[in-house]
Symmetry: none
C-alpha cells in the first residue's frame, strides 16, 4: 500500500489557491433522547446551512469506527497523517504547546506539582491547584537542576502543570508515568516500559537524578513540594506539511495544545489572540502570506465535555456567525469539520463520525440543505477516514496532478 504522502509528494502542484480548514473541536454530538436532535442540528446555523447547500458534506471517522481519539490523533488525522502510524505522547504535546522548540534528541515530560505528606504519600495530585505565578517560580527553581551530560529544561504551563525536557543523545522516551493516579500512596519511581530498552533505561537514570534534586529543592514549598512525571515521550519523526503537500500552512489556534499540534507538522503558528473575532482578524491579516490555514475553535468541545448541551448549541451558533468573515476572503476551499465528536450526553470524546462540509467551485453538489449529523449521512463525501480529508482539500484546490498515465 502506497503511503498517502508518497502520493501527495509525487502529485503536488502549486497554484494560488487558498484552503481553510476550520476545526470545531468535538463538533459531532448526540441527541439527549432517542429521536431528538444533536447540538449541531439544534443550533440555528444559517451560514453553515447555506454552505451545505452549495458544497459537499459527509462524515469523517477520526481513526477507525468507534474509536474516540484524543486531540493529538484527532488532529493528525485531519492533517492527513495516519493517526495509527504517528503516535504522539502527551509530554510532546505539552512541550509544543508552550512554544518549546523540541528537537529529535529531546525527551518531553508533562509534570504535575503535587503535595506529599511527611510519609511521602501524595495528599493532592494537583498541589491545591496553585496559582500560575507560583507554579512559574517553582519551575525557575527546578530549572537550575544540572545533570552531567544532559541539558535540563523546566517550563511552566499553567497552575500546577509544567513541562520538563531532558536533552541528550541516546535517551529513550518509553517510560511509565510516575503519577499513581490516586492519593495516599507515594509517587511511583520512573520505570522503562520495556526492560530491554537501554535508551529508555538511560532516561530512567536521568529522571531519578532529576527527581532526587527536585525533592530537595521543593521540600519547603508545600502544597507544591514535589512533582509527578507523565506522558514521557519523544517527538515522532514526522514529515512537514509543506514537504508532503506543497502548501505553506499557518495555524490560528487559541489553545496551546493545538498550536503544538500544528507546529509538530511544521505549520507556522500565527498570533491568534484570545477570541474567535481575533482569530478571524488574524486570518484576514495573514491571508496573502499563506495558502493553507488551520483555524481551531475550542468551545464546541469544552461545552460538550461539561455536558452542557445548551452551551454547546450556543457555541456552535457563535462559530456559524464567523463563517461570513471567512467567506468574505473567498477561499478556494473551505472545510468545516471536527477532530472528533464530543456529545454533551456523554461528557467525553466519542467515536461517532464527525459532520464535515467542503465548499469549493468544483465540489459536486449533493442536494443537502443543512449542516448536521443526519444530513451529512446523505452527503457526497460519504463516510470517510479523516486521513483522506487532505486529499479532498488538495484535489478541490486543484493542487494534485493526475496519477499515472
Amino acid at each position: 500500500m502506497t503511503d498517502i504522502h508518497t502520493l501527495t509528494r509525487e502529485l503536488q502542484r502549486k497554484n494560488d489557491s487558498k484552503i481553510v480548514l476550520l476545526v470545531a473541536d468535538g463538533l459531532g454530538g448526540l441527541p439527549m433522547e432517542p429521536g431528538g436532535k444533536t447540538e449541531l442540528e439544534t443550533a440555528n446555523t444559517p451560514n453553515l446551512d447555506a454552505l451545505a447547500a452549495r458544497g459537499v458534506s459527509g462524515l469523517s471517522t477520526p481513526v477507525l469506527p468507534g474509536i474516540a481519539p484524543g486531540s493529538g490523533p484527532g488532529h493528525l488525522g485531519l492533517f492527513g497523517y495516519d493517526p495509527l502510524q504517528y503516535q504522539i505522547g502527551r509530554g510532546v504535546l505539552e512541550a509544543l504547546g508552550i512554544d518549546f522548540d523540541l528537537g529529535p534528541n529531546d525527551v518531553a515530560i508533562r509534570g504535575n506539582f503535587c503535595t506529599l505528606d511527611d510519609d511521602g504519600n501524595i495528599t493532592d495530585r494537583r498541589a491545591g491547584r496553585i496559582a500560575s505565578d507560583i507554579g512559574a517560580k517553582l519551575c525557575e527553581k527546578l530549572d537550575t537542576i544540572t545533570i552531567p551530560g544532559v541539558e535540563v529544561f523546566v517550563k511552566p504551563v499553567k497552575e500546577y502543570r509544567l513541562v520538563i525536557v531532558f536533552r541528550a543523545e541516546g535517551l529513550g522516551g518509553n517510560l511509565a508515568d510516575t503519577d499513581p493516579q490516586r492519593t495516599g500512596v507515594p509517587p511511583l519511581d520512573p520505570q522503562a516500559n520495556d526492560s530491554s530498552d537501554s535508551a529508555s533505561l538511560k532516561t530512567v537514570e536521568v529522571a531519578n537524578e532529576f527527581l532526587k534534586q527536585a525533592r530537595e529543592l521543593l521540600k519547603d514549598d508545600a502544597p507544591a513540594n514535589f512533582l509527578t512525571l507523565r506522558g514521557i515521550a519523544k517527538r515522532p519523526p514526522i514529515p512537514t506539511f509543506e514537504e508532503v503537500y506543497g502548501t505553506k500552512p499557518g495555524a490560528i489556534a487559541v489553545y496551546p495544545m493545538y498550536r503544538g499540534l500544528a507546529r509538530l507538522v511544521g505549520m507556522d503558528v500565527l498570533d491568534a489572540g484570545q477570541t474567535l473575532d481575533d482569530q478571524m482578524a488574524c486570518l484576514k491579516s495573514n491571508w496573502n502570506d499563506y495558502d493553507f490555514f488551520f483555524v481551531h475553535f475550542k468551545y464546541t468541545d469544552s461545552t460538550g465535555e461539561d455536558g452542557n448541551f445548551d452551551a454547546k448549541v450556543q457555541r456552535t451558533e457563535e462559530l456559524d456567525a464567523a463563517i461570513p468573515k471567512i467567506m468574505d476572503l473567498d477561499p478556494t476551499v473551505l472545510i468545516v469539520t471536527g477532530d472528533h465528536s464530543t456529545p454533551s450526553k456523554m461528557k467525553s470524546h466519542s467515536g461517532h463520525p464527525v459532520p464535515t462540509l467542503l465548499v469549493a467551485d468544483i465540489a459536486r453538489f449533493d442536494g443537502l440543505t443543512a449542516f448536521g449529523e443526519k444530513e451529512c449521512l446523505r452527503g457526497g463525501l460519504g463516510q470517510f477516514e479523516a486521513k483522506y480529508l487532505m486529499l479532498h482539500a488538495l484535489a478541490h484546490a486543484g493542487r494534485l496532478e493526475k496519477y499515472g498515465a
Copy 2:
C-alpha cells in the same frame, strides 16, 4: 491485508455466466453551476434509468479520495488490480496500444518526432504534426538501426508519435524523459533516475547509441529531423485476468490505449471496429466464446476533456441507446461505470467518484429510479474503491465460492 487476488484465486468458480463491463470513459461529471445537473443527470437515458430501477448502484473511487487517475490506473482499478500496487509507464501503454507483443525483457518508449534547428535546439516538439504516413516511413528508417546485443523495434503510432522498444536481458526501465518540455533548448541526454541502478544505466547506453544513429538517419528529414524519448518503462509483472478470476476475457475497445490495457492483464483483444455499433456487433458475434467482456466507450471522456457539456450529454445518450443491444444478449451481470470522472467544467480527469450500476438477477434492489451522480449516492453499492468492483461482478455472476467454513 490479504491481496484481493489471493482471495479470488482461492474462491473462483466456473459456470456459464456472462459478465459485461461497460466502461464509459470519464463518465462522472459536475454541474456547470452549483445546484445544477451533471452531464449524466442532464442526458435523457431511459435505458440506463430502467437498469438502475432493477439493479444496484453506487459510486466508485478510482484510486483514493480526490485522486484523479490517468487511463492506466483508472482501468487497472476496474479490472481489480490495485492501481497503487501496479504502476504502468506511458511507454508500456503506447506499445500495448499498437498491438506490440511486449515481453518481460522489453523497455518500451514513447517517441515524439521533433524539429531541431542548426544549433541542435528544438523548434517544434511535435515536428509540425507530420502526417501519419510520413511518420510511418521515418519509423521504417529508424527500424533499421542495429545495436549489438539488443533487438530494436521502431513502430509508428500516429502523426509524430512512435514507439521504440529495446529488447535485451538486463535492461532497466527507470530513465528520465529526454523531452525538455520546451523549445529553444536541445533535447536532454538519456539519464537514469537512480545512478546506482546499473540495469537502467545499461539502457542509457543503448538509448545514447540509438539516438546517435537516429540523428544521422533523420538529419535531412526536417521537420522531423530528430526525436525525443518519453515514458521509458518496462511492463510490470502482472497476473492474468484468467488466472486470478477464472474467466475468459475479451476486450472490445476502439482506441489503442484501452486495447493495450486489456492486453496487459491478458485479455483477448477482439476486432472492435470503429463505432459503438461495430462494438455491439463484435460483442454479439463473440458472445459464445468468452465469459467476460470489457467494452470501452471513449467519447464521454473526450467530450469532457473538450469542456463540451452538451456534447458529453449527447455521447451519454448515444451510449444509452446501445444498452438494449447488450441486454438482448441476456448477460448474467452488466456493469456500467467509468474509469474516472471527466467533468466538462474542469476539462480534465478529476477525483470525483464515478457513477456505477450493476444489473444481475441477484442484485439487491435499492429503490433508485435513475442513473446519475446524486442517485448513485443513495445506491446499494455505496461508495467503494474501484478495485473491489470485480468482486461484485464475480459474486453477482455466481463465480465465487464461500469464503471459509
